[in-house]
Symmetry: C2
Subunit: 528 residues, 2 copies
């Protein structure tokens, strides 16, 4: 183990001003620390990051969007250039497979997302210009002129990393500085990404203070930072307990908090669908639940299955797969503990194991996938049943007919997704369940597992509280995700030359603008 | 004084279940109670309103938007039909002039706003449909499926009334039930409006539970209601202290809170503008400050004026007008007290009165407009100077040159508006100040007083915290204001027949939709 790695504050890599201690990455396959020491930053690092990011806000907001796009593109290119090294680092820190997950899926997703953000920054549709020529008013979404604090999660070392993921790309596309609190379970990966980002900032001439990177804070200091009124917004992906504590701190300071918290992603199976292809669905469900050792926000945590023969066959087929499943390696000791506690809570509330869940053999953070089952009445009666067990664990809920399935749906909290599988003959039942799920989920899915989250303009990776902190926004999908980090700015009778480019009479880029009620790409006054 | 007026809960006018007491309207010109008794509702009324509104949410969300539009139009027509009576009631309860303010300005603004909301509900551009045909994803903004709790302010008995104003029209246009906590300073006006609204609900076949009306709650019960997780959102217009307390309660429950709080609406006068037309500007400023006895959120509370002869002449001309101004009648004893406390705080911090502010003669809630002055250093040094004095009071801040004006700008908190007056030769200085104000205000105004708030699609009646609770939204201007009361809903591979109308392949209404990156009005698949 070498010397302590520097933090990125005040525009440069430097030794922590006041590390309160060190930490190391852990190799999940051996449950052993490895690699260099990283600082647990103290209050002086935090203040330096806040002050430097705040000082960079005005210059970044005034940047030509082309330069923002250049940075995002250069960063993507830099990640691709160092892809092999990044994949090796992330694999060592997370035990996620280098192939295909990290190299073929997550890394290209991350660079693709950065390039989509570059395009969005350049074309500026996220600003949603609205012009009322009669009233002399012009409005658009604009930079916050304040830093965005991002807490990254453990489960995507690239695609949701606080220095590279959707929150980062969105905040920068809106021309806001980022204070990245990366996840301490993959510090070396984050350090390497941040080096590439920092170099790209310098090369493209953006303010170096546009990115500050801290590896770890004790929770008290994290809450203090989240509650600093100099922040423009907070973005967090992770556990409900941590997220709600940060939200409370941010709320008190008037800082909008965008959270992506726990979700059990209910999947409803209708009888006809199971009769038609129950075995295939059992495989589809098993694959979705165990992919990435279940470490996805959109993991199918609850599967609602009718009583009777078709349901029994589905459960048996799924249970068999869980029973046969090899143990997988999770990210950390904490993640394993949290999973086991969630499964124990289900069992205490009356669920029973129907497949898998054998004590894992060998070293490392290993768990065997596990499938449990409970009847609907117990699921509805006991809120412990509706807690998240983050990882490769799902709870089958057996229901007597559609009415009971409806009651299960109505008992659900806010979730990111909700799915109903139906045969073509069950459209009426599909609709009843979908209507019950609709207000409780961000993404309503017809006959597909929820795990995949496409980076699409029409994606909603969001949902009602407590799955997120605000039901009107998504954390994935551009340009929509950018709007979280924007302020509405109105110009009242301001002369043309002093307006932002997208609000001027001339519209050389052909941006769609809502002018006097119509979305058009015209100049203003061309015909006048 | 007659029997106690009924509350509107559970879909009908009925006696309060558990009034903890009564209150009456006050005639501001006599400082005397008059009219019928109104209930101070207790916990049972609140629970009945919540339960009934929640029960109505699904049916309202599923309503044909045409029917919502019919209701909003019928309500507007009903208000016009009873205009004379409404104006008389509001005049008696607020002392606002019946002519022109209530009859010619505020009432038509209110009915116009309801009709704009009807159009917005019908044409549905607020839903912002986004479709990705490749990914099979379709998203739009949709009803919250939960009630919106609206706290109305004292200063607009029609246009911001919780049963008739922008928050109401926006929440209903988004097909959410409303729980209206009207302002107790104009209960009879609110009762009459609510009767018209209730009748229109019944006549147009909307669920009667779509509107619940309570007149008054003690503050503890108000906080309990605001913190109920059954709410979809909270909208509040009023004082900072009350608004932030409600926001804290809502935040804890995960309920988005949209606040419109105090704002001092800084106005910067540049030397050249004062040299060109200082006397006219003094009159413009005086009129803006004293209009409606200063009881506007966008009242110019701070005017920054350069030292030297042009500035002295402006201040003298303004001071003369304040000194000559007749006393005006404010809404309530509490409003007068709050104003006098605000002015006293300025004086304690070192400001001196330069015009007006004589003790008011005669009965009623009367005050003479007052103008104070202070130097920039004292303004910057003492946060008491930046407190709001809601009413006909302004603070002149004298500055030495642009640099000191910039420091004043930089000392400001978030505000609804910021204004700079400049001559044509001062564009560079205008821009420097505008750049400093931009991140601190919602609406940046070039050479006009801030008081007028046009109901325009391009309006922003919002701004950075603490002028509001979220910088990305406006409370005035349709369809933008509707989006506060919406959830983002995504459909993933959902069959066409099960999609909401605005996301289906066929687009018979010609709604602009973002399809595969372009805002177009086409059907999908017409060419395929």
């Amino acid at each position: 183990m070498g010397a302590r790695e520097p933090v990125l504050i005040e525009g440069r890599w430097q030794a922590s001003h006041d590390a309160g201690g060190d930490f190391h990455a852990f190799d999940p396959t051996r449950a052993a620390a490895f690699g260099p020491a990283f600082a647990i930053s103290g209050a002086r690092d935090v203040e330096a990051a806040l002050a430097s990011a705040s000082a960079a806000a005005a210059a970044l907001a005034a940047c030509d969007p082309e330069r923002i796009a250049d940075f995002l593109s250069a960063y993507a290119l830099g990640i691709e250039h160092d892809a092999a090294e990044l994949v090796a680092l992330a694999h060592a820190e997370t035990a996620l497979p280098a192939q295909p997950r990290l190299a073929q899926v997550e890394l290209p997703r991350t660079t693709g997302q950065l390039r989509q953000a570059a395009r969005a920054a350049r074309e500026r549709s996220w600003t949603q210009p609205v012009i009322d020529t009669d009233a002399g008013l012009r409005s658009h979404l604009a930079p916050l002129h304040k830093p965005v604090l991002i807490f990254g999660p453990n489960n995507f070392p690239f695609a949701f990393n606080a220095v590279a993921g959707s929150d980062f790309a969105s905040a920068i596309a809106a021309r806001n500085p980022v204070i990245a609190k990366v996840h301490p379970s993959h510090p070396a990966t984050s350090r390497r990404l941040a080096q590439i980002a920092h170099r790209a900032l310098i090369e493209t001439g953006l303010p170096a203070g546009a990115l500050q990177v801290l590896y770890h804070l004790d929770s008290e200091l994290g809450l203090k930072l989240a509650g600093d009124a100099r922040l423009g917004a907070l973005a967090f992906t992770g556990s409900r307990a941590a997220g709600l504590a940060l939200k409370a701190a941010a709320d008190r300071a008037g800082v909008p908090a965008y959270l992506e918290l726990s979700s059990i992603n209910p999947v409803f199976m209708l009888e006809g669908a199971l009769r038609e292809r129950g075995d295939a669905l059992a495989q589809e469900f098993f694959a979705s639940c165990t992919m990435g050792v279940g470490q996805f926000c959109t993991n199918p945590g609850v599967v609602v299955v009718p009583r009777g023969e078709a349901g029994d066959r589905f459960v048996a087929a799924a249970a068999e797969r869980f029973a046969q499943a090899p143990a997988g390696t999770m990210f950390s000791h904490g993640v394993v503990d949290h999973l086991l506690a969630g499964v124990a809570a289900w069992r205490e509330a009356g669920a029973r194991v129907v497949g898998g869940g054998a004590p894992a053999q060998g070293e490392g953070y290993r768990v065997q996938p596990v499938l449990l089952s409970v009847d609907a009445a117990a699921f509805i009666a006991d809120p412990r049943m509706r807690g998240e067990a983050f990882g490769p664990a799902s709870l089958i809920v057996r229901v007597d007919g559609l009415d009971e399935a409806m009651r299960v749906a109505q008992a659900l909290e806010g979730n990111l997704t909700g799915t109903v599988y139906a045969s073509d003959g069950e459209l009426a039942d599909w609709r009843r369940l979908a209507d019950a799920l609709r207000p409780r989920v961000g993404r309503l899915i017809d006959g597909r597992m929820p795990t995949g989250v496409a980076v699409s303009a029409a994606m909603n990776h969001g949902g009602p509280f407590p799955s997120t902190g605000h039901p009107g926004f998504t954390s994935v999908g551009l340009p929509a995700a950018i709007r979280r980090f924007a302020a509405l700015h109105c110009y009242d009778h301001v002369r043309d030359a002093a307006l932002p480019a997208e609000l001027r009479d001339r519209n050389p880029g052909g941006l769609a603008r809502c002018i006097d009620g119509r979305w058009i790409t015209d100049d203003i006054g061309a015909q006048a």
